[in-house]
Structure formats: C-alpha cells, structure tokens
C-alpha cells in the first residue's frame, strides 16, 4: 500500500516538476477527451430517441410501399382504416394501435380570444394515445382525456402561449377558424429525443363527416400508424400476415403494389428516410463518421502521450537505475509507470470535464444540441469519461512502461542511455500513424466542406433566389384569394404561382397508366399541382411543347407537363415524341403538352426522379392550393414584407401571416451535412492542435538529446542550416510517409461518404495535397523554434552537455 502511495506521490511531484511536459501531455489528452466526450454525448443522445416509452421495445411504425417497376413511393404513413382493421383482425398479434393525422399540413391555426398562432405539430389521434405512448400527462387522466369529441390536449408551452399561467382545462380554442375545441388536458413538452414532436392532440372522431368518409378510403395514406405487438410476438410473425391483409382490404388495382413493413420505434430516428416523414430524421452514417473522428482524435492524443513518455526516457533512466539498485524489480517499475500514466489519464479526464463545461455553449451551437452541465455530469457520462481517460492512460503508457523499466542500472547510472537507439522505430511508427490520421482528418474536412458548398451553391435547374412562399389551407380561401389578387398588383412582385407542395421534399404521388401498360394497372409518379405561371416564376425551361394556357378555349386542366426523366420513363428519347401522348388516371385522362428540362425538385442527395405537373380541375383549385409563391424583385426584403403583411392583415386577419424564403428552406435540407461540416472543421482544428503539441514536445526532446552531437558537428564546421536540416529531415520524411499512407485511406473514406449523394463533387488529390502541405508547414514551424535555438547554441556549452 505504501508503495502505491509512494508511486502516487512520485507521479504527482513528477507532474509538477516537469511543468511544460505535463502541461502538453495533459492539454493534449484533455482536449482529446473533451472532444471524445462531446462525440459520446452526441452519439448517445442520437441513439436514445424514443427510448422513454415503456413499450418502445414492442412498438413499431407501420409503413407502406407502393411500387410498380421501381416507381412509386415508400411512405412512412398508411391509409386511415389500416389500424382499426389490424386491431380487429389480429388481436392475438397486436395489442394496440395509435394513428396521427394532420391533413398532411404542417401547420394549423389555433385561436383563443385575441391570441392566434400558427401551430405546427397538431395531430388528430386515437383516444388511447396516452396509454400506448408514455407522453407525460400533467392534467387529465390518460384513459379519458381524449375520450370526448371536440377536445384537445395541449403541451405545456403551447398552453402557456394562449393562457399564460391560468388553468387551461375547460377553456375553448378555435382550430383553423372553424372547429371549436375544449382543452381537456395538458401534457409535458416532449423531450428533444423523440422522432416527432407534439403541440396538441385532438381525438379523431370529432371530424365527423370527413373522418367517416376517410375510414373507408384505402387509397390515400396520410396517417402515421404505430402499433404495439403482443408480448412475445415478433415483427416477422406480424408481417407474415400482411400479404393476406392487403388482399382482403385494398382495392383491386393496389393489391399487387402495396407492401406493408414495420419500423422499430427506436430505429426510426437514425435509420428512416421514407417519404412523408413527420419530421426530418437523424443520420446514422453521421454517427459512424463522428465516432471515427472521436477515435482518431483519441489515437492522436494517445500517441502523443506514448511518444512524450518514451522520448523522456533519458530523463527517467537514472531514476529507473536507482530504483533497481535500491531493490525494485521490473514488475514494480512497470506498475509504477502504469500507475503514473493512469493517473495522468484520470487527471486529463478531470481537465476534459472542465474544458467541456467551458466549451459546451460552443459545441451546442455547432451540433444544434442543447446539452447541459447536468447531462455532462450524469453518472454514466462521468463514468465513461473517467473510464476512457484511464484506458488511454494505460494503453498509451504500456509501451513506455515496458521500455523504461528495461533499462540496465549499471548502464544508466553512468549516463550511458541513448534516446535514439533501441526501439526508436516504434516511436517513428507512432509519429507516422499520428501524421496519417491528421492528414486524413484534414483532407476529409476539406472534402466535406467542398461537398456542402456544392450542395448549397449548385444550380438546381430553377431559380431559387427571391422566392417567397406563403403556406395556405382550404378554410382560408376566402381570405387569401383577395390577398393574392392584390399582391399581384404590387410592383415588387415579379410573378406569382400556386403549388400544392414546395420543392425540397417528397411529393404526393398519383396513379397513371400509359401506352404499353395493361388496363387497370397503375404506376405512381410524383405529381405537382401548379398554375400557368409556374414556369415563369421558377424560370424553368421547356424542351418541347407549350406551357399551360390560361386563354385556352377548353379546360386546360386536362393538359400536363412532364419532366425529362418522366419522358424517358414513358419510353421516349426525344421530347417532341412525348407531346400529345395520353396519361390515363382513374378519373379520366390527361394529355402531355410540354416537356421540361430536368431540374432538381427534391434534394441533391437523391437522383432526379420523374415528375408530372398538372393544373387542378376548376372545382379542385382550392383543395390543391397549399402555397402561394411570389417571385420578388431583388432588393431589401423588409419593406416588401411589411407591405405584404399589411395586405394580409387587410384580408386575412383571422390568420397569422406566415411566410418563408424558399432558398432558406432548401438549404435546411442539408442541415445534417452542415452539422457534419461544422463538427469536422472544429475537430480537425483540435486534432491539429493536439498533434502540434506533441510535435512541439517531440522536437524539443529530439533537440535536447542531440545537443552534444550538434555541438561536435558545429565544431567541425557545420552551418546552422545544415544542423537544423539534420533534425528536420527526419520529421519531414515521417510526414512524407504519412501522406503516402493517408492518400488511399482518405480517398476510400471520401468515396464511401460521397456515395450517399446523387450529386457530388469528385474526389481529387488536392485536399490531400493541401493537408499534406499544411502538415509539413506545421512540422516546420513546431520544430523550427527548437532547431533555431539548437543551431545558435555555443558548441562549448553543447559539448559540456551529458
């Protein structure tokens, strides 16, 4: 025990005596650990989604694939009647089911007295929602809170917006200006780690007629459906029943095309990117990338540790000899050195925690997270941090412990220990490994940055700048129509159009039959309802044919435009050939009047798919008008917005004025890439910092250990530059070797990551060249100081060394 304390005491005094060394060691390891802690927090947070439901293990989302010959949709939502039918037919397999429905409108207006807001995340749902999900209910009984028609449960923060501190229960709010709802309960706001969020829940049956009609609709699939399997039932058992289920309920033409799948609730956030997701999900690949970066940084920091400890061997050699003389055997010394490195590891963990605490706001901003000191110091996170610190200390301390303890006392006590012979290849390999990891990290950071820039700056094939979108809904028609008419008169409005969906997300698919297909067979293609100004507003190019024509004598809503990809899908190679061809729908037929040059309407991560552009029938215009789209003149936005808002107030003051700029929305699609880019940037800088610390110390020890040699060379007439070059050459060749190894590794990783993008930059050697140059520059700068000092040393002093 005393020996243990003696080691501790010694380790502590050693740390204090060798301040610069300790500082470099601790700073490197602590910043590496802090960064690893952040990555660990991020990954554990991303992996914790939807874990808070007690039934999460048996809960699944029912999804819906609809395809023929690879065309169609892969939807996260299902038809409305699926859940009741499943509960009815398979009670032995399914314990409960809950649906969420929002008319596929992101927003609805709620009003209480003079307070009115557009609310996202309002859902119609089943009354057993609080029994299936563990959404914490603050006011109301979970079994009854949604059992009465015309009620609504609000989240705490939503309720506070309307009612302040007053008790909301019993108060009445108006939904979209038409439906009266009584607040029957209040639920807690959902934590961030839920794959979708809720502001209010309304029981299904209140919609009366609409709901009754939809209950028999086995085509429209807007309903996110979550089922809980009976205990012991597996998803495979359930899915085995689905083909029969499809045959029993779906209309004839859909039977061959519909496939139901299950997604485990807890997997949705990281693995699902289906059509019509409730909220954008996370990216599992990002976690692997971050995990790898974390590991890289720990490797760099660990190698620093090993290298510094080993290169200090000559400073510790005498001590090793003495301890052996005084009776210590090798195992005692190994224990001592391992204890020292474990202690350094633990101490670094402590500094890492402080560092993490200081930089937490910065990290939160980078990663768009909201981690707190409480989360940072949760027992499992502290345990992890200490564990990793200890592990790195021990692993990185292993080689130095064995190396140092091997010194022969008879030799070292005479000062006959060289720092350059023996196992110097191990140290060199470690330096090469460290350089390699640094080059890969820097190069990948550059590549990620370039790809992000490419995604954000690429021409999408339409003009996305200066486009303002005002989302509207059917019930608002009386208000927005006069507003829109007046907007068109404003001189800052260049042109306008309407759309049922915007660009940048998956679009509703419609069924079509065309030449070559069997009658009654349908293929599903994305379809967008627009008006005749659509082309002008987005500056789209026609390859052949004409635009929709407002002055057309007959109803032009039977005309459609298609894009180039759709043209190929239909089997035509020349745009002109597609003109005049018919597309059949279950309700009649349409005729192709124009072919548009292809443009990117979803995201650059996905290839451009086929698309049909249609005019809604005159009696369906209001149904399909979901967005008023305004192309504004270039110039300051504020005065234009003020004028727009004034016009809105004049015509639609029962709804809040809501708008966004399309390019902002489109950029948001690349949030994941942006987060990745920001994180890799910061982590790469950190990795460089740690590597520089290590290099600085290594250069200093190398310089010190060669002082005598340099003195002799100087006496013999070597110039300062020749002397510097001797040491530099070693570092440079190690760095060069690292670049050679890093190139194929980094190239492979980059190709793998970029494979996830339909539109991507190509990998060139340049990022690797730049990172190699950067690395060499760093090597040069970090070694220069020591070499300069060394080359200026008086040879007499140098020779007195040793």
């Amino acid at each position: 025990m005393k020996l243990f304390f003696n080691y501790l005491l010694f380790a502590w005094r050693n740390l204090r005596r060798q301040r610069l060394y300790s500082l470099i060691n601790l700073a490197g390891l602590a910043s590496g650990l802090a960064c690893a802690l952040f990555i660990f927090l991020y990954i554990s947070h991303e992996r914790s989604y939807d874990n808070f439901h007690r039934q999460a293990g048996q809960m699944y989302r029912l999804t819906n694939q609809l395809s023929l010959d690879g065309q169609g949709e892969n939807s996260s939502s299902c038809v409305l009647p699926a859940a009741p039918a499943i509960l009815n037919d398979y009670p032995h397999l399914v314990k409960s089911a809950v649906r969420f429905f929002n008319y596929q409108d992101a927003e609805h207006t709620l009003r209480y007295e003079d307070k009115m807001f557009n609310e996202t995340s309002l859902f119609f749902t089943d009354s057993n929602v609080f029994e299936q999900f563990d959404f914490p209910l603050l006011k109301g009984e979970s079994s009854t809170v949604l059992s009465r028609p015309g009620t609504i449960v609000l989240t705490q923060s939503t309720a506070r917006k309307y009612f302040g501190d007053a008790d909301p229960v019993g108060k009445r709010v108006k939904f979209d200006g038409v439906i009266d709802l009584e607040v029957s309960g209040v639920m807690a706001d959902l934590p961030e780690n839920a794959h979708f969020h809720i502001n209010g829940l309304i029981p299904f049956f209140y919609q009366g007629g609409f709901y009754r009609n939809m209950l028999n609709n086995w085509v429209w699939n807007p309903c996110w459906t979550y089922i809980v399997l009976q205990p012991g039932v597996t998803s495979t058992q359930f899915l085995a029943e689905m083909p029969a289920f499809v045959q029993k309920y779906y209309p004839e033409h859909l039977k061959p095309q519909i496939v139901h799948e299950l997604q485990a609730l807890r997997d949705i956030h990281l693995t699902s990117s289906l059509d019509y997701e409730i909220e954008p999900n996370g990216d599992g690949a990002l976690l692997y990338i971050l995990g790898a970066i974390g590991l890289f940084i720990l490797i760099i920091a660990g190698i620093n540790f090993t290298n510094l400890a080993t290169s200090r061997a000559m400073y510790r050699a005498r001590e090793v000899g003495l301890r052996k003389v005084l009776g210590a055997d090798r195992s005692m010394l190994i224990q001592q050195f391992l204890l020292e490195s474990a202690l350094t590891g633990l101490l670094s963990s402590l500094f890492a925690l402080i560092l993490a605490w200081l930089t937490l706001p910065y990290f939160n901003e980078l990663a768009s997270k909201d981690f707190t000191w409480q989360i940072l110091t949760a027992p499992q996170n502290l345990g992890w941090l200490a564990g990793i610190g200890l592990l790195i200390g021990l692993v990185a301390g292993l080689y130095p412990a064995f190396y140092l303890s091997s010194f022969e006392p008879a030799l070292v006590l005479k000062g006959k220990v060289s720092n350059r012979g023996g196992h110097s290849w191990i140290r060199k390999s470690l330096v090469v490994a460290q350089f390699t990891v640094s080059v890969v990290l820097i190069a990948l950071t550059l590549l990620v940055g370039n790809q992000l820039k490419y995604l954000l700056d690429s021409s999408l094939g339409f003009d996305r700048e200066q486009v303002l979108v005002v989302p509207v809904r059917g019930p608002m028609a009386a208000s927005y129509i006069p507003f829109f008419e007046q907007v068109k008169q404003e001189d800052f409005v260049v042109s306008t159009t309407v759309m049922n969906d915007v660009f940048g997300k998956s679009h509703n698919t419609h069924e079509f039959n065309y030449e070559g297909m069997n009658p009654g067979e349908w293929k599903y293609f994305p379809c967008l309802y627009v008006d005749e100004n659509f082309l002008a507003t987005f500056k789209l190019q026609l390859l052949a044919g004409r635009n929709f024509d407002k002055t057309y004598v007959r109803d032009d809503s039977l005309a459609v435009l298609i894009n180039e990809v759709m043209m190929k899908e239909l089997g035509f190679s020349k745009p002109e050939d597609a003109l005049g061809k018919r597309l059949y729908t279950p309700f009649g037929h349409e005729r192709i009047v124009g072919v548009l040059k292809k443009f990117n309407y979803v995201s650059l991560t996905k290839p451009i798919g086929p698309m049909v552009f249609d005019l809604p029938a005159p009696n369906q215009k209001i149904l399909w008008t979901r967005n008023l789209v305004l192309r504004l003149k270039a110039g300051e936005l504020r005065p234009m917005l003020m004028q727009l808002e004034k016009l809105w107030q004049a015509h639609a003051n029962e709804y809040p004025f809501q708008w966004y700029m399309l390019d902002d929305k489109l950029d948001q699609q690349y949030r994941a890439q942006e987060v990745l880019s920001k994180l890799t940037n910061s982590f790469a800088v950190l990795a460089i910092f740690i590597a520089v610390l290590g290099l600085f110390a290594l250069a200093s020890f190398t310089a010190a250990s060669r002082t005598r040699e340099m003195g002799i060379r100087k006496v013999l007439g070597a110039s300062a530059w020749q002397i510097s070059w001797l040491v530099l050459r070693d570092f440079m060749s190690l760095a060069g070797l690292a670049v050679l190894i890093a190139l194929p590794l980094g190239w492979y990783a980059a190709e793998k990551w970029l494979a996830g993008f339909a539109f991507r930059i190509s990998v060139t050697p340049w990022p690797f060249v730049w990172s190699a140059l950067l690395l060499l520059l760093i090597v040069l700068l970090t070694s220069w100081y020591h070499l300069y000092k060394l080359s200026k040393t008086n040879p007499v002093t140098a020779l007195r060394h040793d």
Binding site: K2, L3, N6, L9, F10, R13, N14, R17, R318, E319, G321, L322, R323, K324, V325, L326, G327, A328, D329, R330, S331, M332, E408, P409, A410, L413, K414
Partner: protein
C-alpha cells in the same frame, strides 16, 4: 562473504571485443573494508557492478554468502540487492522528486517494512547523520556533503551485509570527503562489510586492504 573465481566480463560489439574483467579470483571476508584502485578504464566500476548484481559476468563464478549468484535471474538479483546490499555513488544518485526522508525510506518500502518500523529506522539514521532538521528538504536544497550523507543513510537503512561504494568522495571537497570516509569507517567498525572503488590513496588508507587493478586484471604491485 564474497568468493570470486575466474570472473570474466567481456563487452562485445560487431567489430570489437573489450575485456573489462579478466579472470579475477579473490575473497572478501565478512567485516572487511576493501578498497579497489586502478587507473580509469581498468574495470573497477565493472567489478563493483558485478559484485552489486547490477551486471552479470560473462564467465566465472561469484559466490555471495555461499550462494552462486552470477546465474540468478533479474527478480532474484533484485531480491538480494534489496535485502543485503547497499550502494553509494560518486554522484550521490538521490531521487530529485523525493525529499531526504523519503529517499532514505525508499529501500524499506521495497522491502515491505512496516510503517512504524520504517519511521523509527529513518529517524535514528537522520539523527546519526545530523540531518534531522533537513528531512523535508529536497536533494537540490542540500550541499554535496549532505547529499552524500543522505545517500549513505539510504544505503545502510536496510541493514545490508555489504556496502558497495563507487568513489564516494569523488564529487566532494576535502572536508566533506573526510566526513564521509569517517562515516564509512564507523559503519565498518559496527560490522558492515565495505567494498570501495577509489582513486584517492588517502581514502584507500581507511580500508583494511586494497585490490589493485590494471586492464581488467588484479595486479599486486602499486602503480
């Protein structure tokens, strides 16, 4: 106590072979104070290292207290070192990170001596060496003479049978050198066997007899 028979030590590199010890044979009895003298490079220190089990001979036999020790493994050698040997060096070789008290205590820790016993033994020695008031000081805060006294205290604290001293006065002025030699003499008179390498005939005069070496071998005539 020490019986050495045809002891050899050869250092080999790729090109050359250097004989550091050449067929040495001698005995040292318990309670003796023996000096080893000779010019630089004659093998004095190598001999001391072999006797102290810090280095292994290339050939011959070395019996310590009747046991053949030249073939023991590192662990067994470490064990004999900590139980029966004490070392004093020219350059003191104190551990800079430990204070006077802790430096002297260290061998006892390696020997697993109980805490109360350790404290008592270190205190007695500190008093004997006139270092009690310095016990919290670190080596760099002491004079050379004081450092060597600490080193001697450290060498004797575990009651070794044999003390090996390698030019113990080499880094000291005459006054402090004399103090150290007196101290060694006292220890010898109290029963500890001492083998001391020295250049200094005055120091050698403190010993009972002198082994003279040249080119790795024992010679009988003075230089």
């Amino acid at each position: 106590m020490i019986h050495v028979h045809q002891l050899n030590k050869v250092y080999r590199t790729d090109e050359i072979e250097t004989t550091a010890l050449d067929q040495l044979s001698f005995n040292i009895e318990e309670g003796e104070f023996v000096s080893v003298m000779g010019p630089s490079g004659c093998g004095k220190s190598t001999l001391l290292n072999v006797l102290g089990l810090l280095d292994t001979p290339s050939g011959g036999q070395y019996f310590f207290n009747g046991q053949e020790v030249s073939t023991l493994n590192e662990k067994a050698r470490a064990n004999i070192r900590k139980q029966q040997l004490g070392f004093v060096f020219q350059s003191f070789n104190l551990i800079d990170e430990l204070n006077v008290y802790e430096n002297i205590e260290l061998p006892l820790i390696y020997q697993d001596v109980a805490a109360s016993d350790r404290a008592e033994r270190v205190r007695v020695l500190l008093e004997q060496m006139g270092l009690l008031h310095r016990k919290k000081h670190f080596p760099q805060q002491l004079s050379g003479g004081q450092q060597q006294r600490v080193a001697i205290a450290r060498a004797v604290v575990s009651h070794p049978h044999l003390i090996l001293a390698d030019e113990p006065t080499g880094n000291l002025d005459t006054k402090h050198g004399k103090e150290v030699m007196e101290l060694l003499k006292e220890l010898n008179e109290a029963g500890t066997t001492i083998v001391m390498v020295t250049h200094n005939p005055e120091d050698a005069a403190y010993s009972h007899r002198t082994i003279r070496m040249l080119d790795g071998a024992i010679v009988n005539h003075p230089f």
